[in-house]
């Protein structure tokens, strides 16, 4: 049994940023992560982080771009915070040691990104996530933060509707531990592993979201899944939007820059939902190159590629066998980011007192129906910091709660039973079936019958998952057991996504219904909230969108 004032679950950017904020104030915060912090998926972010710095730019313009990008589903009060606090947050990171590329005048260099009306993405070559993650990790060390690494959180513990702590499984020893705390922050990231062909790390299994919905905290707007337009054809590995920011072309099999048809003004730098749909249309209509589209950077020249996109060059060579200096890169859309997540306000608070969430696992919502490139890193630091600040305030009046240790026993039993089971099903294979089904039927283009087929498949898999057998019976580093548990999490998340997507009979942002191709503000300008109904199903409710400055308009690029 551990006891701390604050437990931060997840050691990506949002978690680390909150930790720094709390530790700076001398607060007893512990970080719990199922991997070592630097293995977190934030480190894979490549292209940039948005903030209006330039004389000719303004945060208000960033504000509008983000609202428009969200297809008017983003909450404008929250987006105003995101964009007006952006520059200060970037400078804060810079003060902490993060390095950004420089412009000729000594300021932070900025590149264009999709859906942004001004080049405002700050970057470090094409590895800004890595730079930020390691920079924040170093600061976490600076403030001597306790890290419980390779602990897998299985439950949230509450006491009379207020947070009391978490239950965690120590992967190294196989022991279950209760961690009592006055405040808990989930910065647990997304669920990319719900889909085959995704850009996400294998650890992105939506654990925090699954634990939350099981604890009665609603998940918001889960039907909105971002498909990144440029992921390597054979592995789904990300190719930064920064490549297009630097001037790359998208070509179909005829060698035509087809974006002129779909977004004549923005071209390749249209938002991700628009570009992903354009690519999928080209592929579906037979103008793909072996099921892919070509991303051409050759005209940028070797020197610029090596300076600005060195990681992309190396990834293309290592994982696709293509040197982008001489050949175009075969790419296709792949699952990338979750706009939805644990419902929070703009201080990271959820419906349970003392329970917070920030980063991709949370839905504030600043991304609405479609996130703009360069806004997710910003989201992590802005709302990670705000959650940290708010928790510090909350602690002043928070009382210690009773930690019900039977929760630890209960989770231990679930794991023990799973471990003992000698069923015939292998989670590894079920996972592939689920991922393939989700890609095929709840992907870039959606339609009722296909999604119902997906739902049937999910229900079938839930049944079969009861017969999962575990080979590994030991306690030390039993990754077999952890992965089986993770599979149950992505299965639950897949169901929430699919049911939400069937429910929402309109097309908005990344959620495109071929049977309802128009946005329907009258009926659907609202957030969906999913909770478990206690009978093995999912119940939906709705909440209002905050509209302060910008009335919904048609969205063209």
């Amino acid at each position: 049994m551990f006891k701390h004032d604050v437990v931060i679950v997840g050691a990506g950017l949002a978690g680390l940023r909150a930790a720094v904020e709390l530790r700076k104030k001398g607060i007893d915060a512990v970080i719990v992560s199922k991997v070592y912090p630097t293995r977190s998926h934030s480190g894979a972010a490549q292209g940039g982080v948005n903030a209006a710095f330039d004389e000719k730019d303004s945060w208000e313009s960033h504000f509008f771009d983000t609202v428009k990008g969200s297809d008017y589903l983003g909450d404008q009060d929250a987006i105003e915070i995101l964009t007006s606090e952006a520059p200060a947050n970037i400078l804060d990171l810079q003060r902490m040691g993060v390095v950004f590329n420089r412009n000729d005048f000594g300021g932070i260099a900025q590149r264009p990104f999709g859906g942004q009306s001004f080049p405002r993405s700050c970057y470090y070559a094409d590895a800004v996530g890595h730079m930020m993650l390691h920079g924040l990790f170093d600061n976490v060390l600076k403030y001597k933060t306790k890290i419980l690494y390779e602990y897998f959180v299985t439950s949230l513990v509450t006491d009379n509707g207020k947070v009391a702590g978490v239950v965690a499984y120590d992967i190294k020893t196989g022991n279950f531990e209760g961690i009592a705390a006055k405040a808990v922050l989930f910065a647990t990231g997304g669920y990319g592993q719900v889909y085959s062909s995704n850009t996400n790390a294998l650890i992105n299994t939506g654990d925090g979201m699954a634990v939350s919905i099981k604890a009665g905290v609603p998940l918001m707007d889960m039907e909105f899944v971002q498909f990144h337009p440029t992921t390597l054809k054979s592995t789904g590995i990300l190719v930064t939007e920064g490549a297009r920011g630097e001037g790359a072309y998208l070509l179909n099999s005829l060698g035509v820059r087809f974006m002129s048809k779909y977004a004549p003004k923005a071209m390749e730098l249209a938002p991700r939902d628009v570009v992903a749909r354009a690519e999928q249309t080209e592929i579906n209509e037979g103008r793909g190159v072996e099921g892919a589209i070509l991303l051409d950077v050759r005209h940028l020249g070797k020197e610029r590629i090596m300076e600005r996109l060195p990681q992309i060059m190396q990834l293309s060579i290592d994982f696709e066998g293509v040197n982008p200096v001489y050949e175009p890169i075969p790419i296709r859309p792949g699952a990338h980011y979750s706009m939805g997540g644990i419902k929070t306000d703009y201080n990271g608070r959820t419906l349970i007192e003392g329970y917070y969430s920030a980063g991709e696992s949370a839905c504030v919502s600043v991304h609405g129906a479609n996130r703009l490139g360069g806004n997710s890193l910003l989201d992590t630091v802005v709302f990670g910091r705000r959650a940290g600040t708010d928790i510090a305030e909350y602690l002043k009046s928070a009382r210690e709660r009773k930690f019900d240790e039977s929760a630890v026993k209960r989770d231990e039993e679930i794991f023990e039973n799973l471990k003992k089971s000698s069923g015939k099903e292998r989670y590894g294979l079920l996972k592939s079936e689920l991922q393939e089904e989700m890609r095929a039927d709840v992907g870039v283009f959606r339609e009722e019958n296909a999604m119902k087929r997906a739902l049937e498949k999910i229900i079938e898999l839930k049944e079969r998952a009861k017969n999962i057998g575990i080979d590994d019976k030991s306690r030390t580093f039993n990754t077999d057991l952890v992965e089986a548990f993770e599979f149950n999490n992505i299965l639950l998340i897949a169901e929430v996504i699919t049911r939400g997507a069937i429910l929402r009979q309109e097309s908005r942002g990344a959620h495109y219904r071929t049977d309802f191709p128009e946005r329907d503000d009258e009926k659907w300008l609202k957030h969906t909230l999913a909770v478990l109904d206690g009978k093995g199903g999912i119940k939906f409710d709705f909440s209002e969108v905050s509209i302060t400055k910008f009335k919904p308009q048609p969205r063209t690029y």
């Binding site: 575990i470 030991s474 030390t476």
Partner: protein, 332 residues
């Protein structure tokens, strides 16, 4: 095509000592070693244990020995390995205790990272904190200016900040083999990165002083393995050499290693020759000299006795010129 993968196996709960287990895997185009391990785990043996996360060579989880060489499993294609070795042999990283199968204990490695103070020093915290400023309507923010050239050293040596802490260099490091307490290449490259940061304000040079202690920068054996095996193309050894120069330039020469370097430079500057006795004395003092005695005695038995007094070599003028060129005139 089917191929064989032979994995190092050890479960402390069941095995007295490690053993190897062979699996047969069906290949697909572009398959990586990580893909192969995942396939084994998903389809036939869930007990095979390894770490993995991003699968795109940026998180550093899946470093392991593949056919004897430390690599990232996610970045290593099966095809070329099979062509060369006929099998995929996977083993845990060296220089670290094995917890289970391919999983090693990284505690020591990360403690060493902590030890070098991997963050900016000497900033005024309260000031930095107060400076956070939320913009009002129509407001712009001023940013401090830093020119590209100011960051040049920091990103030099093949982009030191790109280090992903994957432990490949540490596993191959000759210095750690000789002395497990040696900080190792990744930690020292990070020390270099922060000491070259224009925002760092380490007024008393504490970071460099710390790094100069035993087990620090002077314990590098210059085997170059860290550069050779880095999956991100970084050269920690070049950073370490730069740290040597920096330490000497800043007269942080209390360690035997730095005294050794200074003494050699002096000896050559004076006579053009290496005065072994003097260098040994100046590097290690009396105790150093005594501990070197068995070596000297052994060499003496083989007839290798250095002269007590060295004559100047005849091209001394060239050496003087070279020293002037290198800014080492004080060593003449």
């Amino acid at each position: 095509m089917e191929f064989r993968i032979r994995a190092y196996r050890f479960n402390p709960e069941a095995d007295k000592k490690p053993y190897y287990k062979e699996y047969t895997v069906e290949d697909f185009p572009g398959m990586t070693v990580l893909n192969a391990l995942m396939k084994v785990k998903a389809e036939s043996d869930g007990t095979l244990s390894f770490r993995r996360s991003c699968r795109s060579a940026i998180c550093g989880s899946c470093a392991m020995k593949i056919n004897g060489i430390t690599k990232l499993a996610c970045k290593t294609q099966v095809g070329p390995e099979i062509d060369k070795f006929g099998i995929i042999n996977v083993e845990p990283l060296a220089n670290m205790p094995v917890i289970r199968d391919l999983i090693v204990d990284q505690e020591n490695f990360f403690n060493k990272i902590k030890e070098i103070k991997p963050y900016l020093l000497g900033q005024r915290e309260d000031e930095a904190y107060e400076a956070f400023h939320v913009l009002q309507e129509g407001e712009k923010i001023n940013q401090p200016l830093y020119y590209k050239s100011e960051f040049q050293n920091l990103t030099g040596n093949n982009d030191t900040p790109n280090c992903i802490l994957c432990e490949c260099c540490y596993s191959e490091c000759g210095g750690v083999v000789g002395n497990p307490k040696y900080l190792g290449p990744a930690a020292l490259a990070k020390l270099y990165r922060y000491s070259e940061d224009p925002r760092d304000n380490d007024r008393n040079g504490s970071r460099l002083v710390n790094g100069s202690k035993p087990e620090g920068i002077w314990d590098c054996v210059h085997c170059q393995s860290c550069e050779e095996f880095c999956p991100k193309g970084i050269s920690p050894v070049k950073s370490i050499v730069k740290l040597h120069e920096k330490a000497v330039k800043n007269s942080i020469t209390f360690s035997a290693g730095s005294k050794h370097v200074v003494s050699i430079a002096k000896s050559i500057g004076e006579t053009g020759r290496l005065d072994e006795i003097k260098v040994a004395f100046e590097s290690g003092g009396i105790t150093g000299l005594i501990s070197d005695l068995p070596v000297a005695f052994g060499a003496g038995l083989k007839g290798k006795i250095p002269p007590l007094r060295h004559k100047l070599i005849k091209d001394m003028e060239d050496i003087r010129l070279a020293y002037k060129e290198l800014d080492l005139e004080d060593k003449l």
